[in-house]
């Protein structure tokens, strides 16, 4: 399978006053199209920083980040926004829906920043996505009227609306109970089976088991990189 994401000698330093914190110490990773990856590691291992860099929310201190064939590592702020808007989908631990918007409006949000004219066609598309995640009877509800699992499903629908190359999850089940977590993971697996590339951060082993590939980070380096084909293909 072709590589969709490639990082080469990725280094990320934070500067706190006079102190330099070396978070990522030269990572080399390749992610293939259609893969489902779980990033794991103790806190401070750099997994969140890596996800931020992969999500084009942060720029690496040095090294290259190829998204497709393009090195996005040294892009400007506007270009990065465009990359996020066109190629990436986000799912957050705390859902991050806008409380003043309805379900459909929340799903529609990424399209707003693509400069697309929002009309009946785009709305229909959002409604379809809401139906896909099982919220066809909640279209005009606001996030606070929904349960955590339902909110996360809205977030998944939102992450799909721009038809992204890559979906990034930041502990997508972190705030959910076991039963709901399973529902969400099943949904992500279905998405992955339909061809979406997913990279998610988690610190729960049973969640990581849903992924095809598990990468463990420690102190800014890759500790292990394993495939758990047994369940992912099951």
């Amino acid at each position: 399978m072709p590589a969709i994401v490639r990082v080469v000698d990725l280094v990320k330093n934070y500067y706190m006053g006079t102190q330099t914190v070396n978070v990522l110490k030269g990572l080399n990773l390749t992610f293939e199209e259609g893969d489902f990856v779980a990033l794991m590691g103790p806190s401070g291992s750099g997994k969140s920083t890596l996800l931020n860099v992969l999500g084009c929310l942060d720029r690496p201190t040095s090294g290259a980040y190829y998204l497709g064939d393009v090195n996005v590592a040294q892009m400007g702020d506007d270009q990065l926004s465009e990359v996020r808007s066109t190629y990436l989908g986000f799912i957050f631990q705390s859902y991050n829906l806008l409380p003043q918007y309805t379900v459909v409006e929340n799903i529609e949000l990424p399209l707003l920043y693509q400069g697309i004219k929002l009309d009946e066609a785009t709305k229909e598309r959002c409604v379809k996505l809401a139906e896909m995640v099982g919220l066809s009877d909640r279209l005009d509800h606001r996030p606070l009227q929904l349960s955590g699992g339902q909110q996360q499903r809205v977030a998944i629908a939102r992450s799909l609306v721009n038809d992204p190359h890559l979906i990034l999850g930041d502990e997508p089940t972190g705030n959910l109970d076991t039963k709901t977590s399973v529902e969400i993971m099943q949904m992500l697996r279905t998405l992955n089976r339909s061809g979406k590339t997913i990279i998610m951060v988690t610190h729960e082993n049973d969640i990581a088991e849903w992924a095809r590939r598990v990468i463990r980070l420690r102190d800014g380096r890759v500790e292990s990189d394993t495939r758990n084909d047994n369940r992912a293909t099951a």
């Binding site: 929310l57 942060d58 506007d78 926004s81 991050n96 806008l98 707003l112 920043y113 693509q114 400069g115």
Partner: protein, 468 residues
């Protein structure tokens, strides 16, 4: 003339409506034009968004634009009242006539200059002065002398303390008044020293509350005067300038100048606080009308020179040039207007600071929302636009509310004022002030919304997402 001093006139309302309509059409065309291009959709979406989020915090939005509302409305109201009273003063001077020169007899403050002691004080303008003024030449259109006698006028048991003014028929041209019935004095009256009189509206009302005064006779001193005309109600002249007393024309009674000399003689008796003072004044006032506004000053100077020669050290005359006062009043109006604009800009700046304060609080409160939007692909300029539009929408709505409130004040305050005060509060809507204050309040939105909007846009998306 009257309408200016009481309520804003109809034409003003029409003008505002027209200009308002024009602006609305312009905005609609602008929006349509923008919508055809790509930016339009984005801008419209931003406006929708702004209205939505302002609606979410109704009370806060209202409070934050209160400064703008108060600023705009007070500018409009203050300008209207300022314009109104200034207009009043200007009209007053115009009524006196910009091409007129008014020479008055004044009692000299110090008799030692004349070194004369008698029971009859003699002072003021005499026939010889008028003859000499006439020699100035063609630039003088007419010379209207007048004598004033404070006298009781009676009809049957009714009495009025009137001011009898002896003057020539041309007086009517100088003061541009209208008659409600009958005619003014004529040359024939003057020549034949007829016992006729023309009543001011108030004098007529008091003496003849029920009947038509024309044709009746009024008793003044020991003579009967036949009423030949009544003058329509006139605006009194305010006491502009130190030398000129306020004139209440409506209680005046006009008689031919020659008749006054023949019937009442040259001595004017004035009753002051129980004692009687006899004064000998030939003419109390002479109004000289000049053909051209440019000739007012040179003729005025000539008149002064003549009077100085004739009267020597006796300062018993004073020359008033309404044109001078007109120009002075116009200068005062300009100063006044710029002062108001200054006050306006201060209050709008204060309002703008209020907006900025709230916008900064909003940005802090909505940091997470900003982070979410950024993560989903919003560029810095999208965020800037969003918050800027929000600020501008606020100040624009505030400005519009202010305009409405200001207009309401302009129409209602003079009425309420009239219930408590005796003097009217004139108001005249100042149309440029409306648009100026509206544009300034929109400008305030841009100016004071810019910094919070930029601050929102520059937030680090990761930090913003972590914020709670």
């Amino acid at each position: 003339m009257n309408s200016i001093s009481e309520t804003p006139s109809q034409t003003n309302v029409l003008l505002i409506a027209l200009v308002g309509l024009f602006v609305v059409v312009l905005v609609l065309i602008g929006v349509a034009q923008l919508r055809r291009n790509g930016i339009g959709a984005k801008l419209q979406r931003s406006i929708d968004l702004a209205v939505k989020s302002l609606w979410l915090h109704k009370l806060r939005s209202v409070l934050s634009v209160l400064g703008i509302i108060i600023g705009t409305s007070s500018v409009i109201a203050l300008m209207a009242f300022g314009e109104g009273s200034m207009q009043d003063a200007l009209d007053d001077i115009r009524r006196q006539g910009a091409t007129n020169i008014i020479v008055r007899s004044v009692k000299p403050s110090d008799d030692s200059a004349t070194a004369q002691r008698s029971y009859v004080t003699t002072y003021g303008l005499v026939k010889r002065d008028i003859d000499r003024i006439e020699t100035i030449g063609d630039s003088i259109l007419r010379i209207v002398p007048l004598r004033v006698f404070p006298t009781e006028a009676r009809f049957l048991e009714r009495l009025v303390n009137a001011r009898v003014i002896g003057t020539t028929p041309e007086y009517a041209d100088v003061h541009k008044f209208e008659l409600s019935s009958g005619r003014f004095l004529t040359d024939l009256d003057e020549r034949d020293r007829k016992n006729v009189c023309v009543l001011g509206s108030e004098a007529a009302d008091k003496l003849f509350p029920f009947e038509d005064p024309v044709g009746r006779s009024v008793l003044m001193r020991t003579f009967d005067f036949t009423v030949v005309g009544v003058i329509r109600d006139r605006m009194p002249t305010g006491g502009t300038g130190g030398s000129q007393a306020a004139e209440e024309y409506n209680r005046d009674i006009y008689v031919p100048l020659n008749t006054t000399v023949a019937r009442f003689g040259e001595v004017i008796s004035v009753r002051t606080a129980g004692s009687r003072v006899n004064e000998k004044v030939q003419y109390n006032q002479v109004t000289i009308t000049v053909s051209d506004i440019d000739k007012v000053r040179p003729v005025g100077d000539s008149i002064k020179a003549i009077l100085e020669q004739e009267h020597g050290y006796k300062k018993d005359w004073v020359v008033t040039i309404p044109l001078d006062k007109l120009e002075e009043a116009e200068r005062a109006k300009t100063r006044f207007t710029s002062l108001l604009v200054l006050i306006a800009s201060i209050s709008l700046v204060v309002g703008g600071i209020g907006i900025m304060n709230i916008m900064l609080a909003t940005v802090t409160e909505r940091t997470r929302e900003i982070g979410i939007r950024r993560a989903l692909g919003a560029k810095q300029k999208d965020i800037t636009l969003q918050f800027l539009v929000e600020a501008v929408v606020q100040t624009t709505i505030g400005g519009l509310c202010g305009v409405v409130l200001g207009l309401v004040m302009v129409y209602t305050v003079p009425y309420v004022w009239s219930l408590f005060a005796t003097t009217p509060l004139p108001a005249k809507i100042h149309v440029p002030a409306i648009f100026l204050s509206l544009f300034v309040s929109i400008g305030v939105g841009v100016l004071f919304g810019w910094y919070p909007a930029r601050r929102a846009a520059r937030l680090d998306p990761i930090e913003a997402l972590r914020h709670d």
